[in-house]
Amino acid sequence: MLTLLRDLRNLRRSIALPAAASTGSLAIRHVDCGSCNGCEHELTLVSSPVVDMARYGLGIVASPRHADVLLVTGPVTTRMHAALLTA
C-alpha cells in the first residue's frame, strides 16, 4: 500500500500540471446516450492523477440534483430518450 502511495506521489511530482483553479467549481452529471464507450473511458481517466480534473474544481456527481452540468455522450438513441428527459 505504501508503495502504491509513494509511486503516486512521485508520479504527481514528475508531471508539470498547470496551477489549480483558485475559485469556482462545476459539478458534472454524466449520461451515456449511446456513445462508443470512448467518452466514458476518457472521462474516467481525466479523474486519474495524470490530469486530475478535481484540481480545477470539476467533479462527477451521482445525481442530476447535485449537478450544474448535464454531460450527454452519444447520439441519443431512441431507447435512452425517455431516460435522458427524466435526468
Binding site: M1, S35, L45, S48, P49, T77
Partner: protein, 469 residues
C-alpha cells in the same frame, strides 16, 4: 469453410451432430435473402475450423437450437427482435432489443416470501455506460438478475449495409472504442475472406501489434476497475495512470488513443518509424516494471485481497454451457484463446497463460488478467523489432459470398461475419466477447450479496457499446 443449407429438422439435426463431434457454437444471425428470411449458425472447432449451417424460415420460424447450446440464447432473441424470425421450442422467447414491452415480458418471474425487486439503471451513479439491471433479492441476497441492455442500440449493422466494404469498417468497428482494433481486424478478416485475400507476414505483424496494444491498456484498465469495485482508490489511480501511459503511446504510434483509423480492409497504412519504435519499447518496458510493482503492492494489501475469493463464481461447466469466452473462461479453467488458432496474425507459437487456481471467482479473473499482461508485453517486445511499413494483402483464392473473421479481443472471442452484395456489404454481424459473456455475469451474481455486484460486474469488465451496436 464449409457451408451447409438444411431445411427445418435437418438443420437442427446437423447442429446436434456437429456439437456431438466437438464443434462449438460461435454465432447465430438472421438475414434477408431474396424473397425470405434465413438464419445462419456459425460453428467452430478447437483447431479454428469454421462451418456455417443455414436454414430458411418457413414461413416465419425455424427450429431453436437453444436446447442444444444455451450460448445461442441471446442470438435467437436478437434475431427475433430485429428480423421477426420465430424459434420453435425457444420458450419463452423474451424480448432482448425490443424495449417497447411490459415488465413481465422481459423480467423473469420470481415469487416467494420476502422476495422483491431492485431496479438499477439505465443511468448509473458514476461514469458508466447505460444499461438496466433488475435484481430479484431477499434482503441482500441476489436470487436472480435480469440484465436489460441495448439502451445504446444504434443500428450500426444496418447502417453498414450497402456501404463499400472498406467504408463500412469505420461503422462496424466504431461500435466500441475499447475494442476498436479487435472489431476492426475481425471485420477486415471477414472482408478479406469474401475477397479471397491473404495477409502477408508484414500485415499480420502490423495488426497483431495493434491488437496487443489494445490488450495492454484494457488489461490495466480492468485491474484499475476491479480496485474501483472495492473502493481501493490508490490501486484505481495507480493503474489508471498506467492506462493513460499506454493510451498516450497509442496516440504517438497511430495518431489516436483508441487506435481509430489504423486498420483497413485489404492492407495497412500504418507507418511507424524507427524512433517511434524505440519510444514504444521504452514506454512498454516502463509499463512492465511499474505495473508489476503496483501488482505486488496489491497482493500485499490484505484487505483488498480478502475481498476477492469465492465471489461471483462461474465454474468450468457453466462457462462451457453459457459459451463464456476470454479471461472469464480461462479463469474458470476453460483454456481457450483464439490467439492459438490465428494463422492470419503473427502469434507464432502462442501458449495460453494458465492460472494455478482456476476457480472462476473474482480473484481468479483478476489474477488471470495480471498473468496475461506479461505474455502480451512479450509479444509486443518480439514484434516491435523494427519500423512498421504500409503493406497490401495478396490475392490467394477465389472470393466467397460469406467471410468470417475471428479475433481474441481483450474481452474474449470476437466474431464478425460479412455477407457480400456485389462489392458492398449485404449483411454484417458483429458478435463480441462482451456479447458472449453477459449471460455469465447474470449467472455469477446469483447467490451473492447485492453490494458485491459492482465488484462481480467489474471483474468481467464488459462493454455495453459493442453488445448494443
Amino acid at each position: 469453410m464449409n457451408t451447409h443449407h438444411g431445411s427445418g429438422s435437418a438443420y437442427g439435426e446437423g447442429i446436434a451432430a456437429a456439437l456431438a463431434d466437438g464443434w462449438r457454437f460461435a454465432s447465430l444471425h438472421a438475414t434477408t435473402k431474396d424473397e425470405g428470411r434465413m438464419v445462419r449458425t456459425l460453428l467452430s472447432s478447437k483447431d479454428g475450423d469454421l462451418r456455417i449451417e443455414s436454414v430458411t424460415a418457413a414461413p416465419d420460424s425455424v427450429p431453436t437450437i437453444v436446447d442444444l447450446c444455451p450460448a445461442a440464447g441471446w442470438d435467437e432473441r436478437e434475431a427475433h427482435d430485429l428480423y421477426g424470425v420465430g424459434f420453435d421450442g425457444h420458450e419463452p422467447l423474451r424480448p432482448l432489443i425490443d424495449h417497447d414491452v411490459a415488465l413481465e415480458q422481459f423480467a423473469t418471474p420470481v415469487q416467494g416470501h420476502d422476495a422483491y425487486q431492485v431496479a438499477v439503471g439505465p443511468i448509473h451513479a458514476g461514469v458508466i455506460e447505460s444499461g438496466h439491471f433488475r435484481f430479484h433479492v431477499v434482503g441482500d441476497l441476489i436470487l436472480h438478475v435480469d440484465a436489460r441492455l441495448f439502451y445504446k442500440h444504434r443500428g450500426l449493422e444496418r447502417a453498414a449495409e450497402g456501404l463499400a466494404l472498406n467504408d463500412a469498417l469505420g461503422v462496424v468497428a466504431r461500435s466500441c472504442s475499447g475494442c476498436w482494433a479487435s472489431n476492426a481486424v475481425a471485420y477486415a478478416h471477414a472482408c478479406e475472406g469474401v475477397l479471397g485475400l491473404a495477409a502477408p507476414p508484414e500485415l499480420a505483424r502490423s495488426r497483431t501489434i495493434l491488437l496487443e496494444l489494445e490488450r495492454v491498456w484494457n488489461t490495466l484498465n480492468d485491474i484499475s476497475a476491479i480496485c474501483a469495485g472495492v473502493g481501493l482508490a490508490a490501486g484505481t489511480s495507480r493503474f489508471a495512470a498506467l492506462v493513460d501511459d499506454a493510451r498516450r503511446l497509442n496516440q504517438r504510434l497511430t495518431g489516436h488513443r483508441f487506435l481509430f483509423g489504423s486498420v483497413a480492409v485489404g492492407g495497412s497504412t500504418l507507418d511507424v518509424d524507427a524512433s517511434a519504435i524505440s519510444d514504444a519499447r521504452e514506454t512498454l518496458a516502463r509499463i512492465r516494471s511499474e505495473s508489476s510493482r503496483a501488482w505486488k503492492a496489491l497482493l500485499f494489501n490484505g484487505s483488498f485481497i480478502d475481498r476477492m475469493p469465492d465471489i461471483g463464481i462461474v465454474d468450468a461447466a457453466t462457462a462451457s454451457t453459457l459459451g463464456t469466452v476470454g479471461t472469464a473462461a480461462r479463469a474458470a479453467g476453460v483454456v481457450e484463446d483464439l490467439r492459438t488458432t490465428s494463422p492470419r496474425l503473427a502469434y507464432d507459437d502462442f501458449e495460453v497463460a494458465v492460472l494455478r487456481r482456476q476457480t472462476g471467482d473474482v480473484q481468479a479473473r483478476l489474477e488471470q488478467r495480471a498473468l496475461e499482461l506479461l505474455p502480451c508485453l512479450d509479444i509486443l517486445d518480439r514484434l516491435l523489432d523494427g519500423p512498421v511499413r504500409p503493406v497490401a494483402s495478396v490475392r490467394a483464392e477465389e472470393g466467397a459470398s460469406i467471410g468470417v473473421g475471428r479475433v481474441e479481443s481483450p474481452r474474449g472471442a470476437t466474431t464478425c461475419i460479412v455477407e457480400r452484395d456485389g462489392d458492398r456489404v449485404g449483411r454484417v454481424r458483429l458478435r463480441t466477447g462482451s456479447y458472449a459473456n453477459w449471460p455469465a455475469v447474470a449467472h455469477a451474481a446469483a447467490g451473492n450479496l447485492l453490494p458485491d455486484f459492482p465488484l462481480i460486474n467489474k471483474s468481467f469488465e464488459l462493454c455495453y457499446a459493442c453488445v448494443d451496436r
